[in-house]
Symmetry: C2
Subunit: 273 residues, 2 copies
């Protein structure tokens, strides 16, 4: 894969829109999340508003459930949300319109009629091809909710830290994906209470701040680039990973799971002055 990426050109990569980059600052470092307004416009706008209200600052990572999720927020729902909304109508799926690119995988998937990549995210489509949604893979950012479909809004957020819990697909609004610093979440000590909640709650890691990159001076933004998922190079990468031919592999898999496709990132070189 390294050899293939070495052959990539500038057009194989894309920058994150600073409006869609959410930085979570922990004591151990920074987690960078790419938000995806094309799938969750109202929730992404609300997460931006919550960040601007400083809603997340000082909240704990209250839940770390092994092989499932880390979750942060304000379970008591006591912290004011200011101009943001506390709950929103669900954005679990959306229409698969012509304007929304979809690079399908030929590989069978048990959870959806078709899976592939849209805008750099693992995505799925229903049997009729008219509905699409983002898949829960390692690193996916979801919007926590109670039993009612419209009971989430972004005051509770979670990230997948285990085997893809695809049963959550179409049951949760997916708002983004961790693109850097994933290990700062996945290696957190597991919570000892039911469902991995910390007991007492304040034992969790604290989110020192959550900021939208666009709100920071350019010099403070992380110049992350992500490999595009709609290019011939990405198709080559998938083919190489589906059937590994290096000296170590003896039997090629002949298949790749949606959530096993790597989504490479890199730090952009400094632009010339």
């Amino acid at each position: 894969m390294g050899e293939l990426l070495a052959q990539s050109t500038a057009t194989d990569w894309r920058r994150i829109d600073p409006d869609n980059a959410l930085y979570l600052q922990l004591d151990a470092g920074r987690v960078v999340i790419e938000l995806v307004p094309e799938f969750a416009p109202r929730h992404v706008a609300n997460i931006r508003a919550l960040a601007r209200e400083r809603f997340y600052d000082g909240l704990p990572i209250e839940r770390v459930q092994d092989n499932f999720v880390v979750q942060w927020g304000d379970p008591a729902q006591k912290k004011p949300v200011g101009n943001a909304a506390r709950t929103l109508p669900p954005e679990f799926t959306r229409p698969a319109t012509a304007g929304l690119p979809f690079t399908p995988l030929p590989d069978v998937d048990g959870y959806a009629a078709s899976v592939g990549f849209t805008l750099g995210f693992p995505a799925a489509r229903g049997a009729s091809g008219t509905t699409t949604w983002l898949a829960h893979c390692y690193g996916t950012l979801g919007v926590g909710r109670d039993n009612a479909a419209d009971s989430g809004g972004g005051t509770e957020l979670y990230v997948v830290i285990g085997h893809a819990p695809r049963q959550l697909d179409r049951n949760v609004t997916v708002a983004g994906r961790v693109v850097s610093g994933m290990e700062l979440l996945s290696a957190l000590p597991r919570g000892t209470g039911p469902l991995g909640f910390h007991e007492p709650p304040h034992q969790g890691t604290i989110i020192r701040s959550a900021r939208i990159a666009a709100d920071l001076p350019p010099v403070e933004r992380v110049p992350i680039e992500l490999l595009r998922t709609d290019t011939p190079l990405f198709a080559q990468l998938i083919a190489l990973r589906r059937n590994r031919t290096d000296d170590w592999y003896k039997v090629p898999a002949g298949h790749i799971d949606l959530c096993n496709v790597p989504l490479p990132t890199r730090i952009a070189q400094q632009e010339p002055n």
Copy 2:
């Protein structure tokens, strides 16, 4: 699932054979691994022999690669193996004989013609039905090797800590599965070198001891019981998880991935004197 398990009877559960229980003692606690001689007889015998030689004692967990594996061993291959072997012929697959139970899942799988459970382990079968192997799921114990298929023997072992790397199936000898203490491995700090190796190597967590339960006095053994995977109760559990009907889920998945099937454990009650 809790309600279903509450209905279980003694015959729904099994004890680990103490000959097949490997205890890894870390400073943070104990990891219990069930070894599986039915699939890897020579490797399991060799891992027992290495444990009895005290080979693993004091070795570091030298690699923690996010969303992939933790690995421990003696990469310099300097530590004597005593009466154990350093390398063995591979045990990547085995014949699917009549004596080997297999409870198939009806769910499609991209990596194998058929998947299901054998002796409590996630397993797969080839198209002809004559060959079977254990699947790489979260918690699977594999035998590290170099490029040659016969270059492993148990001096390097790894455990999966991320999304199932099923491309490793049939390329590695699977020797067991973590049944307790998984979070002691999955939450370890990630290595900062290539492939998640620690740099320098001694920064890794130390394995204080590795023991076979049968070598310990009964009072020092962990009385873990595992849910059997060849019972009507287990079939019910799978059906419940394939289509979740609790108040939270709005859209049932209609499918379950082999590596998403829970394999419950419990601590056995004290037996009467």
